[in-house]
Amino acid sequence: MTLVSGSSFPIGLNDPTNSASIANPTTTSGTDYLDETITIGNRSAVCYVRLRENDPEPGIGPFYRSYDMVNGTQYGYSISTGTSAKVPMCDTNPVISFGTSSTTSGYTQDFGYDYWESVASDDWTVLETTHSNAGGWNFGSGNGSLGSITNGTTSGVTYQDASGTTRTVNMIAWQKNTASGTGAANDTANRGNYLALGMAAGTNVDNTFYQITVNGVTFLRSNAISYDGYENGGGVWWHWEPTDAQIDSMGTSGTVNVKLSSASTTTVKNNGIAEEFGGEVASSSTGGNVHLSHYYRNAPEGYVSSNASTNIPADGSNVEIRFSDFWGTSFVAGATVHASHTFYPDFQSFTIYSSTTQNSGWRTASFAMAASPTKMSTFNPTGTFLGFTTSSVEILDFYTNETTSGTHDNFWTDLRMTMDITTSQTSSSYVANNNVSQIAVWSNTTGTGTEDFSAEWSDTNGVTFSQYSGKVRAFIHWLTADVTAGSGKSKTWTENFGTNTTATSNTQHTFKIYKSGGI
């Protein structure tokens, strides 16, 4: 967890939740992918169905007529409609009057049509059938746009969804159904009411949006009555069935806010330092025997590890510790070490025909140096190490290197490490960075204070695994750019290991290989 941040939250040494009945504060948050303002437009809108009455009298007919399934006033926002527009409702102004013309037009997959037609058809007589391809929407104001939205263009308003995909919204509209009589989709209280969301494209998943909110009224994507593509192609729509009250809340004029959002998450934050970092969390009756001084970073009590926020003063820094240092900080597990080894590094320079090589550090596997002691660490990593099941890893080499036919200067060019991993597995079992995180070097025997340099395992330039007689020999290689010098230190021969060819004349160094975390 994390501690509260900001002066508006009380923070205690132990746990105010227990001692003063101050609950851990919670925050609820989500991401608004789209957050715009609609200037509400309105227009009359009818979703109709066209019927065919077969042979009402011998020799006469068939007759065609239409019924309103939904009518009333549509509110909200839409780009221009029409057959070429990629919006949920495609008004084609078909022939809808009673007569004998069989001309058909319209779209049976327009927004809402299928859902409402199944209700309206209950009113049909035995002679009536729904005429094929004859249904859809008709707007009293024609095919123009409806209202407007901030940042909108003629094709809609865009947002970036959770997957990073740009989406284009072209309609957010709502309507209360006032149709009645034959064919009206009004068998239940809210039937025919709708909230329509149209997009140029979009899949029906939470990544596209989790919920839509219009003027404070929220609908979950997963609760939509239907999701479909336009019959005339090119887009998709979602359909919800709001109550009359919800329609009223969404508004009929003026401006309203509209959001497409992710799911909300609730975060609980600690308000006690000991509660977050550990230590005695006492009840309100007993109190707690904890001291703020125990919570210096990397203090011997071990509550605040060296990996915790540097806002918390380091142990021994002589900086006064304050409650506010802990705002927004979190417990971070301390580093764990596979092996720590103290040794005298050696320096050597040798020419192998085409080039001269300089090494400083520790070599035993080849071109051995006279480093002391003669054997470096063997450790048991417990479980797997770099993907190999093993209980024994021996460090053979750890040295800075430069090979050149030119002149060596003050800086080494690469860092190399060789290990023998005892395993029955082959080289192909290798898994990068498995159970190892960092190496670090100090020019002292304690392995504390400012390190000379460190290198993340994940920053290695390359590795070679060579399999032989029950072992895999691992050659690890960092370029100088992959290695980080300690504060105020540099990556030079003299500062790293030293250049004396008598090992014991160089400063004793400590090397650590970390299982997790690091300095």
């Binding site: 290197n401 060019t413 990068a432 390359g462």
Partner: protein, 284 residues
């Protein structure tokens, strides 16, 4: 034998050299393009080969030299029976020279007898390489420098058993080659992976340094022969790959054990690579 370069699920480069089937090399992507990563991979395995290839000089060793996959000659340290026998021939036939230099003066010195398999050698000859500084007599005779800034720690003489003429083979670092080479010499394009990490520059005629050394041949008038040799270390597969890409004949050895280095014989006036030689070292 071949080297395979593939990309794993993490898009890192995986290299397997069929000559070393137990070795798996992985070079990490680090924002490099595929082509850059492959170049880094070749450099990575060249360096790995050089760093793990222990080829110190000793007083008891034999170097075998292969030309296009066939054994051309064997060099022996002067303390070995084969070396002693060749030194006796030198002492017998070139007494003047033997009075100037003790062929066995340094136990690292190596000798061989060989047939002329390449220019400029035309007759059966004896080769002598010395690991002591070159005496003034020879520096004057062949008009060469022994400035340690430019020359390597060994040099050679080639004794023609028919004409009795002597050639000098001077061994230079790359800077020395650039300083003393003939102006008309053409240096062919090197493979990418023979470059100097120190400078980070690719090798070219103008480079001061390279992970290679060069030998030039001088006659007794101080003239430099058309042919010179460039030496470098690499796994065989990398050399084969480069030769194939540049239509250079190369004899692959089935037994890769003891391979020490490679030598390229170049016709300096044309830049043509005439031969690629494989050197093996055996400690006896």
């Amino acid at each position: 034998m071949a080297i395979s370069y593939t990309f794993n699920d993490d898009n890192d480069l995986v290299i397997v050299d069929s000559d070393y089937p137990n070795d798996l090399h992985i070079v990490y992507r680090k924002d490099r393009t595929d082509e850059q990563l492959k170049d880094w991979g070749k450099l990575f395995i060249q360096q790995h080969f050089a760093l793990q290839n222990h080829i110190n000089n000793t007083s008891s060793m034999r170097d075998d030299v292969y030309m296009n996959g066939e054994l051309g000659r064997s060099d022996y340290t002067v303390g070995l029976p084969e070396g002693e026998e060749i030194v006796s021939k030198l002492n017998d036939k070139w007494r003047t020279i033997a009075n100037i230099i003790d062929f066995k003066g340094n136990p690292l010195n190596i000798v061989s007898e060989y047939e002329p398999l390449r220019e400029p050698y035309v007759n059966s000859s004896i080769s002598f390489y010395c690991f002591d500084p070159m005496p003034q007599y020879f520096r004057d005779k062949f008009n060469v420098s022994n400035d340690p800034q430019y020359v390597r720690e060994w040099w050679g003489l080639k004794f023609d058993k028919v004409t009795k003429e002597i050639l000098c083979k001077m061994v230079y670092n790359w800077s020395g080659f650039q300083k003393f080479r003939r102006d008309d010499f053409i240096v062919p394009d090197f493979p990418f992976w023979i470059w100097d990490k120190h400078t980070g520059r690719a090798v070219s005629n103008a480079s001061d340094t390279a992970n290679a050394y060069v030998a030039m041949i001088y006659d007794e008038n101080g003239n430099i022969d058309d042919h010179y040799d460039i030496y470098f270390q690499a796994p065989q597969g990398l050399v084969k790959e480069w030769c194939d890409e540049n239509d250079i004949p190369f004899g692959v050895l089935d037994d890769i054990n003891n391979i020490m280095q490679y030598g390229i014989t170049v016709n300096g006036t044309t830049g043509e690579i005439k031969y690629v030689k494989t050197y093996k070292r055996f400690f006896i």
